[in-house]
């Protein structure tokens, strides 16, 4: 029995020891588990704290880069504008965290470790529509890519790193192609369905005494108004790039502008300087125009006109060629006109010219109506005819022709009445019958000076008439100072702005291609070859836009291409701190004055020099562009806009419509450019007529800078986010 009990004592001891071991192991594992929980929580909490701190740190770095990216002169400004798409490194050598970040750093006991690394990566050029051919030198000017930002901290002895990508884009601050134009109307042909009568809504400005008087004779009451005068910017008249171009389209539709006439050779509003003596093909001697008697009327009165004498084949035989512009003085009903008290009138001289017939038959007042678009400002022709004047070097694109009347008299010894008119003949090789001398003593024949010349080269006619295409199409006058060399209209092939951009297609293809917005694609989609890919920010309302851009009193900053949903109504922008860009607006735009610190309440004598000095000094990165994407009218509540381009274009415009309008017009001053489908000249002429002073339109030379100004937009979101935590380092 004793032997049997011993083993049982041993069993209890073993059981006890076993139980104690289990309890110890269990306690140990639970304790470990609890301590791991605590550790896990601590690491989790610290990671969250470090993550938000690192994000704030990276955000501060990006913010400081963004702040310098559009400040001219900084290293960061230059890095973004390198003319290539390679990688680059940005250095924030004097980086100082903002005060909130510093406070937070101290509060949390965080230490910045190492220098933050910031690089420009993944850069690709933005695309252009097919119609635009940017030059090689601009490759990489507009681009998109991302900023690669890496930074690190130490928090509770543990290193934390963050690396992230922030997308950016570099875009031009103005619209390519269009910025070269002071006026761009790609469907103005809709306002001249026929260049005569009621369908001609361009040649509608009453002209008299070399002026466009505000008060017109009652017969012309419906033509009351002022033309749209595009002045050349003083100091830049001879620079074809900085003078501001004009396009009147469509590309394949002719536009006829009636040149305004004059009373005594010269006149402030006369357009006849646009007819160069060289344009007259038979003027082989290169004579200059002078005010000279062209013919004697049947009363023996000498009628003097701007003209030249062209010697003919036989000695003392002359073709006396005079030119007439459209003005009240050439109408038959003008009491003090050219043909007043004369038995000759234009109808006899022009003969059966179909253009002349159409002009006077369809609208009896037409001869007094000049173009409502004056593309070269007023006439600054010198009085001395030996100094030929070709006007400002403003290039005009499109099939734009200057229309005027040419009258030719054949003068020979003993001519009856001082010479015989050479009227229009549809057959340009027409041989007129012999002319009688005084008292019918003998007969003389009209013989051109040279064998290759024809009657049609001399005859009286409406030049650029529009109905004489077969007879005289080769002698239309292109409204373009360069036409004295080329004698042909300028199309897209001749478009050669200083920045090297060229067009591969028609001008009227540019608007629809560039401003196409695909609602299915997002703004800023870099794969789109349109303005949509350039949109850096979208504002849901004008209030949001104004909050970002500024109140216009102290500053107004657009910086890039932005899109504003709905309407946009801006008050006066008087600030000089203006950073330019393109504001695309979904619906209507109404603008106040944009004065840039100029005091417009001063006499014109003092104002004009200040204004011209200001616009000569304006830089492209200060210029504002407002675009109505719907083609709805841009309403100008103020009538002073300096350094502004207005664009309102829609592919659906099929009839003349107002796309820019002055609501309260008193003393209008506009410096910049306007691009519309149709200016609706009938309305504009009336509108300008209501102004108290002549409207002033200047181009801003900086719009044509050879190196376009760009803006950097760093987009407010992060991609490629990576947070890492290292082992604790003592």
């Amino acid at each position: 029995m004793f032997d049997g009990f011993r083993p049982r004592r041993g069993t209890i001891t073993v059981i006890l020891l076993g139980l104690i071991s289990v309890i110890v192991v269990f306690a140990f594992s639970i304790s470990r588990r609890l301590s791991s929980h605590t550790q896990l929580l601590t690491v989790g909490d610290h990671t969250q704290i470090a993550r938000y701190f690192l994000e704030s740190y990276a955000g501060d770095l990006v913010r400081q880069i963004a702040a310098q990216a559009n400040v001219d002169g900084s290293d960061i400004h230059a890095v973004f504008r390198r003319p290539d798409t390679g990688d680059a490194t940005l250095t924030l050598s004097d980086y100082k965290p903002n005060s909130l970040l510093s406070e937070l750093q101290k509060e949390l006991g965080i230490e910045f470790t190492g220098t933050p690394k910031i690089g420009i990566r993944g850069v690709k050029p933005l695309l252009y529509p097919e119609v635009v051919q940017p030059p090689e030198s601009l490759h990489g000017t507009e681009k998109h890519g991302y900023l690669s930002v890496s930074c690190s901290i130490r928090f509770n002895k543990r290193p934390y790193y963050i690396s992230l990508r922030v997308p950016f884009m570099v875009t031009m601050r103005m619209t390519p192609v269009l910025r070269e134009f002071v006026l761009f109307c790609d469907r103005i042909h809709l306002e001249q369905q026929r260049p005569y009568g009621n369908q001609d809504r361009i040649n509608i400005t009453f002209t008299k005494d070399s002026d466009h008087p505000k008060d017109v004779p009652s017969a012309y009451a419906s033509y009351k108004g002022q033309p749209w005068v595009l002045w050349p910017t003083p100091g830049f008249e001879t620079d074809r790039n900085r003078c501001g171009r004009v396009f009147l389209g469509a590309d394949d539709r002719p536009i006829y502008l009636n040149l305004a006439g004059e009373k005594d050779f010269q006149g402030f509003m006369s357009d006849l300087w646009q007819v160069f003596p060289e344009w007259i093909k038979v003027n082989k001697a290169g004579s200059r125009f002078q005010l000279q008697p062209i013919f004697l009327d049947t009363n023996g009165k000498a009628i003097s006109l701007r003209g030249i004498d062209v010697p003919l084949k036989f000695r003392n035989h002359l073709a006396k060629i005079g030119i007439l512009g459209f003005c009240h003085e050439i109408t038959p009903d003008a009491d003090d006109g050219l043909f007043a008290n004369s038995s000759r009138d234009l109808r006899d001289i022009m003969g059966p010219d179909p253009a002349y017939q159409a002009l006077v038959n369809e609208n009896p007042q037409a001869l007094a109506l000049a173009s409502s678009l004056k593309l070269f400002g007023k006439n600054y022709e010198p009085a001395d005819p030996d100094n030929p004047y070709y006007g400002p070097a403003r290039e005009v694109f499109g099939k734009v022709f200057g229309r005027f009347l040419m009258i030719t008299f054949f003068e020979y010894p003993s001519a009856q009445g001082g010479g015989q008119p050479l009227p229009y003949n549809a057959n340009s090789s027409f041989v007129p019958p012999p002319f009688s001398t005084f008292n019918n003593v003998s007969e003389v024949t009209f013989e051109p000076a040279e064998p290759g010349q024809r009657y049609g080269d001399y005859m009286s006619r409406v030049v650029s008439g529009g109905l004489d295409v077969v007879a005289a199409a080769d002698s239309y006058l292109c409204v373009n100072p360069e036409s004295k060399k080329s004698r042909r209209p300028f199309g897209f092939n001749e478009f050669a702005p200083a920045d090297g951009t060229r067009l591969k297609g028609r001008f009227d293809a540019f608007g629809p291609a560039w401003f196409a917005i695909d609602p299915k694609k997002k703004a800023g989609d870099p794969l789109l070859p349109t303005v949509q890919s350039r949109i850096s920010r979208t504002y849901t309302s004008q209030a949001a836009f104004l909050k970002a851009a500024g109140d216009g009193k102290t500053k107004f900053r657009v910086d890039g291409v932005v899109y504003v949903k709905g309407d946009l109504t801006l008050g006066d922008i008087t600030a000089t701190d203006v950073r330019g860009g393109v504001v695309l607006v979904e619906k209507e735009i109404r603008l106040g004055n944009i004065t840039r610190g100029i005091d417009f309440n001063q006499p014109e004598k003092a104002l004009i020099p200040e204004l011209t000095k200001k616009i000569a000094e304006l830089k492209q990165d200060e210029l504002l562009t407002f675009v109505s994407l719907s083609g709805r009218p841009i309403k100008l509540a103020g009538d002073k806009q300096v350094g502004v381009q207005l664009i309102s274009m829609s592919p659906t415009v099929g009839v003349p419509c107002t796309q820019v309008t002055w609501e309260a017009i008193k003393r209008p001053v506009f410096c910049g450019g306007i691009a519309v489908n149709t200016p609706n000249m009938t309305e504009r002429v009336r509108e300008f007529g209501r102004a108290g002073a002549d409207p002033i339109f200047f181009y801003v030379p900086a719009m044509a800078d050879p190196k376009p100004s760009t803006s950097v937009c760093i987009r407010p979101f992060m991609a490629g986010y990576r947070l890492s935590i290292d082992e604790v380092k003592e």
Binding site: L34, G44, Q48, I49, F53, E55, R63, N98, R537
Partner: protein
């Protein structure tokens, strides 16, 4: 009879077993409480982070307005957060809305949030603000004294500057 266990032996065994079980049960209870507490702490962290992320994701002005509104309310029950509740309006959750609401009520009972805003001054005015999101909760549901809290801080920058 000699081969079996006496009553005393059985009683001794039971006492030993009971003595062994007391610390085991105590450990087990501590573990369960600890796990519960860890879970709540993690939920608090997630709640703070989600509120912070939600505010940071908004455009600057909206974020500032919303943060100020929340700051004005001081400590607020987590379930009173209108944005959290509005998420339940999502059509994808419609079918199980009542279950989810019940779950939320159960999980986030006694959770409170507090938001604080400190705007930049001087040159930094209007360009940034410091956002603090604090979440507190009860470790022991029955005791207000067991309340703990954690906070997260981040700086929100204006996007267009």
């Amino acid at each position: 009879m000699n081969r079996g266990m006496s009553m005393i032996e059985i009683l001794v065994g039971l006492v030993i077993f009971s003595l062994a079980m007391v610390p085991l049960l105590s450990f087990s209870f501590t573990t369960t409480r600890g796990t519960h507490s860890v879970g709540k702490h993690m939920m608090a962290g997630q709640l703070a982070a989600s509120l912070m992320d939600r505010l940071l994701a908004r455009p600057y002005d909206e974020a500032l307005v919303q943060a100020k509104e929340l700051a004005a309310k001081r400590w607020m029950d987590a379930l009173d957060d209108p944005l959290l509740v509005s998420m339940l309006d999502h059509s994808a959750l419609a079918a199980h809305r009542s279950d989810i609401e019940q779950d939320l009520r159960k999980s986030f009972r006694f959770f409170q949030t507090n938001v604080a805003v400190k705007e930049g001054s001087g040159d930094e005015a209007g360009r940034m603000f410091l956002l603090t999101v604090e979440v507190s909760w009860r470790i022991d549901d029955g005791s207000e004294k067991s309340r703990q809290s954690l906070d997260l801080k981040a700086i929100k920058y204006r996007e267009d500057l």
